[in-house]
Structure formats: structure tokens, C-alpha cells
């Protein structure tokens, strides 16, 4: 009987330790991924030389508002924040190469998600970036589409 109690105590201790290990590992194991496609229609907040600050509505998997600081030159580069309705923000940066002529200049590149706030505080990912820039519009209209997988 004494031997049985000793074995039970050792077994119980082992279970407690295992539970502790599992609980501490839980946040990592619970990281979620999201396959997202979003489109943002952005308009000028301010412009200076080749630098634009734009914001507008984002629709799709992560609906909300997007604000971006963009430099349009031989390459297009910039940083962005997506304010997802009620759950947090996603931040990152991206680069793209412009193509085409005429009123609409298109561009293609990639976005790197580097973090965020709220639900997306640990957001990470690399997504494709596609878009058009309206060269004739007074408000420097940009349409940006992103598609890829986000982990958070």
C-alpha cells in the first residue's frame, strides 16, 4: 500500500509538471494563421515631392481603415497601418515596381507584416502586393490589393 501511494505521488507530480509545461507553451501553440485578401482604396492626406501620405477604406478579410506613407519613384516603397474594426492594428512595410503608362500606373511587389496591436500584436507574414496609381486624379488615388497568409 505504501509503495502504491509513493508511485501515485510520483505520477501525480509528473502530471503537474507536464501540465505546467503545456500551459507555458500554450501561447505559442495557439498562434493562428489567416489567409487574407484585402483591397484598400486610398486618397491623399498630404503630398511632398515623391512622398505621399494616404488613407482610406480597406475591405476584405480584414476590413477597416488603412493609412500608408508611400514614396513613388523608380520603385514604390512605403509603410502602412491597417486599423481592423474593433480588434487591433496591423503594421508593416512594402516595396513594388511600377509598370505601364497612361492614366493608371500599375505596380507589383510584396508586403512584410512586422507587428500590430490588440489581437494582431504578434502579427507576422509576407504577402503579395498589387495596385494601381491614378496619375491624373487630384487626390492621387491608390488602389492596393494584398493577398497572403498572416500569422498572429
Amino acid at each position: 500500500m505504501i509503495g502504491f501511494l509513493k508511485r501515485w505521488r510520483i505520477g501525480a507530480a509528473t502530471v503537474v509538471v507536464l501540465l505546467a509545461v503545456l500551459v507555458s507553451a500554450a501561447p505559442a501553440a495557439m498562434a493562428r494563421t489567416l489567409k487574407a485578401t484585402d483591397t484598400a482604396h486610398l486618397y491623399k492626406v498630404s503630398v511632398s515631392g515623391s512622398n505621399l501620405i494616404e488613407q482610406g477604406k480597406a475591405t476584405g478579410t480584414l476590413p477597416g481603415k488603412m493609412r500608408a506613407t508611400v514614396n513613388i519613384g523608380a520603385t514604390i516603397s512605403g509603410t502602412f497601418t491597417i486599423y481592423v474594426h474593433g480588434v487591433g492594428t496591423i503594421t508593416g512595410h512594402g516595396t513594388a515596381i511600377p509598370h505601364g503608362s497612361g492614366r493608371f500606373e500599375s505596380f507589383k511587389g510584396s508586403i512584410v507584416v512586422t507587428g500590430g496591436t490588440g489581437r494582431y500584436a504578434h502579427a507576422r507574414g509576407t504577402t503579395g502586393l498589387y495596385g494601381t496609381f491614378d496619375r491624373e486624379s487630384e487626390d492621387y488615388a491608390l488602389v492596393i490589393q494584398t493577398t497572403g497568409t498572416l500569422s498572429y
Binding site: S48, N51, N71, I97, R135
Partner: protein, 283 residues
């Protein structure tokens, strides 16, 4: 590799000059005192200077970029023929917002009909190049008008065409293709131009471009657009200057490559407007 096109037309006056100068030209490429450069002279490098300015220069406003370069051969000789130029411009310069080059013109259109065969809305600027050829002991210079046009993208890059039409004495036209490429800071990009070799006379060196002055912007450019059944004539707004001047001014740089393998480079800084105003008032 970008396509390079060269169109040589008749050279009537050059033929006359050929008759006058042939003995001197074909006698030998002079090793000293002459103006032609052979491969044995590749070690001596040409020198170049670059200029750039904005007109008007008003921070936050629209502008035309005026740029130019001048090339001198070693010892004051005619430089070897230019084969490539790369012009880097400041990173803060809003070229994409200029609304210049809304449509494109192709090399085939230019070859077939010249600039008049291209849509007006493809014109982005004008200029003039000076070409020099050695005819024996004589040096013949030819001013050549230039037109800068937007071309269809090449290899994923925004492309330009530089159309040069000479009339006297060479009566030669050439089309230089250019591409807009990324450039490291403090530059926003570079216009990389392939310059075709332009033969002058049998036995004489290729034509050397020694000077170029050009504008990129609305100065002298007129566009047309339909509006409610009418055609509106307008001037595109032009390059957008930043609201604040980059520290140290607006930097420009150019790299030149020559047929003999030599290279030259030049830099220029356009001062910030307040300093520029003081500089102009001292003149």
C-alpha cells in the same frame, strides 16, 4: 538588354568635307595633337561636368528640371564616342506626379515619322546635344535638337526615348533608349541611357557627343484631351518639388561610358531655394 536603334540618313555636307579632308583623315589616327582617339589612348580618361536646376525652384511647387552635361577629351581633344549615360536624380523629386508622358511612343513610330508621328502626350521634354567629329585637323560641331518621349515599358522598367535629329553637316538622326532604374540613396532613381554609335566618315572616329542640355517638365510641352466633345489644350503640371529641401541641396550624379572602355563621372548639387536666391543675387 534594351533595344538600341540607330538610323543613319544621308550625309551630304560630310561628303563634301570628306573630299576636302580625306587625306588628313585617312592618313593615320594622330597619336598626338590630333583629335581622334584610338584604343592605345584608352588610359587617358575623358572628364565630365554636370549641371541641374529647377525652373521655377519653389518648394512644394511644380517645376521643370533643366539638366546638362559637358564632356572633354584628354588634353583638350575630342572625347571618344559616348556609349551610355546614367543620370541619377534626388529621391524627393516627384516625377511620378508630373502627369508627363501619359501615353507612349514606340521606336517604330519614331523611325517611320519622327516626333510628328508620336502622340503629343508622350512628349516629356526637349533639349539639344552637340556632336563633334574630327575631319583631319578640323573639328566640326553639330547642334542636334532632342525630344524626350515616354516609351512602352522595357523589361519591366519605365522607358524613355531620346530622339535626336541632326541636319547640318551630318544630317543624321539617332534614337537613344532610356530606362528608369532604382538608385541608392540619396537618389530616387536613375535614367539609364544607351547611346548608339554614330559613324561619321570612313576612317574617322565615331561622332562624339560633347554637350547636352535638356529639360524634363512642362516647359514648352502642350497636351490635348477631349472634354465634352471639345479638345482641351493644356500644359501638364510638371515635377513636384518637396515641401522641404534635402539637407545639402538636391543631389544629381552622372556616369558616362565611352567606346574605348573609359568612364567619367560628375556630380552636381542644386542648392536649396533660399541659398539659390542668394547665389543668383550675387551674380
Amino acid at each position: 538588354m534594351l533595344r538600341t536603334t540607330f538610323v543613319a540618313r544621308t550625309i551630304p555636307l560630310a561628303i563634301v568635307l570628306l573630299g576636302l579632308c580625306l587625306p588628313a583623315v585617312t592618313g593615320a589616327v594622330p597619336s598626338s595633337g590630333g583629335r581622334a582617339l584610338g584604343p592605345h589612348m584608352a588610359a587617358s580618361t575623358p572628364t565630365a561636368s554636370l549641371s541641374a536646376s529647377f525652373e521655377p525652384e519653389r518648394l512644394g511647387g511644380r517645376t521643370t528640371l533643366r539638366f546638362g552635361f559637358q564632356i572633354a577629351g584628354p588634353g583638350g581633344q575630342v572625347p571618344p564616342a559616348l556609349t551610355a549615360v546614367s543620370l541619377s536624380y534626388p529621391e524627393s523629386l516627384g516625377i511620378a506626379f508630373s502627369r508627363l508622358g501619359l501615353v507612349t511612343c514606340t521606336t517604330a513610330q519614331l523611325e517611320a515619322s519622327g516626333v510628328s508621328g508620336c502622340p503629343e502626350d508622350s512628349i516629356m521634354g526637349f533639349g539639344s546635344a552637340t556632336a563633334e567629329i574630327s575631319l583631319g585637323a578640323d573639328l566640326v560641331g553639330e547642334p542636334v535638337p532632342l525630344t524626350i518621349l515616354r516609351a512602352p515599358d522595357e523589361e519591366g522598367h519605365i522607358s524613355l526615348l531620346f530622339d535626336a535629329v541632326g541636319t547640318t553637316p551630318l544630317n543624321t538622326s539617332a534614337i537613344f533608349p532610356g530606362a528608369l532604374l532604382p538608385a541608392p540613396a540619396p537618389f530616387g532613381g536613375q535614367v539609364s541611357i544607351d547611346v548608339p554609335l554614330i559613324p561619321s566618315l570612313p576612317g574617322a572616329p565615331d561622332v562624339a557627343i560633347v554637350r547636352l542640355r535638356a529639360t524634363l517638365g512642362p516647359s514648352g510641352v502642350i497636351y490635348f484631351k477631349p472634354l465634352e466633345g471639345r479638345t482641351i489644350v493644356y500644359q501638364p503640371p510638371g515635377l513636384l518639388l518637396p515641401d522641404s529641401c534635402p539637407k545639402g541641396g538636391f543631389p544629381f550624379a552622372a556616369q558616362f561610358s565611352f567606346v574605348d572602355g573609359s568612364h567619367a563621372s560628375a556630380r552636381s548639387v542644386e542648392a536649396c531655394p533660399a541659398r539659390a536666391a542668394r547665389r543668383h543675387s550675387r551674380r
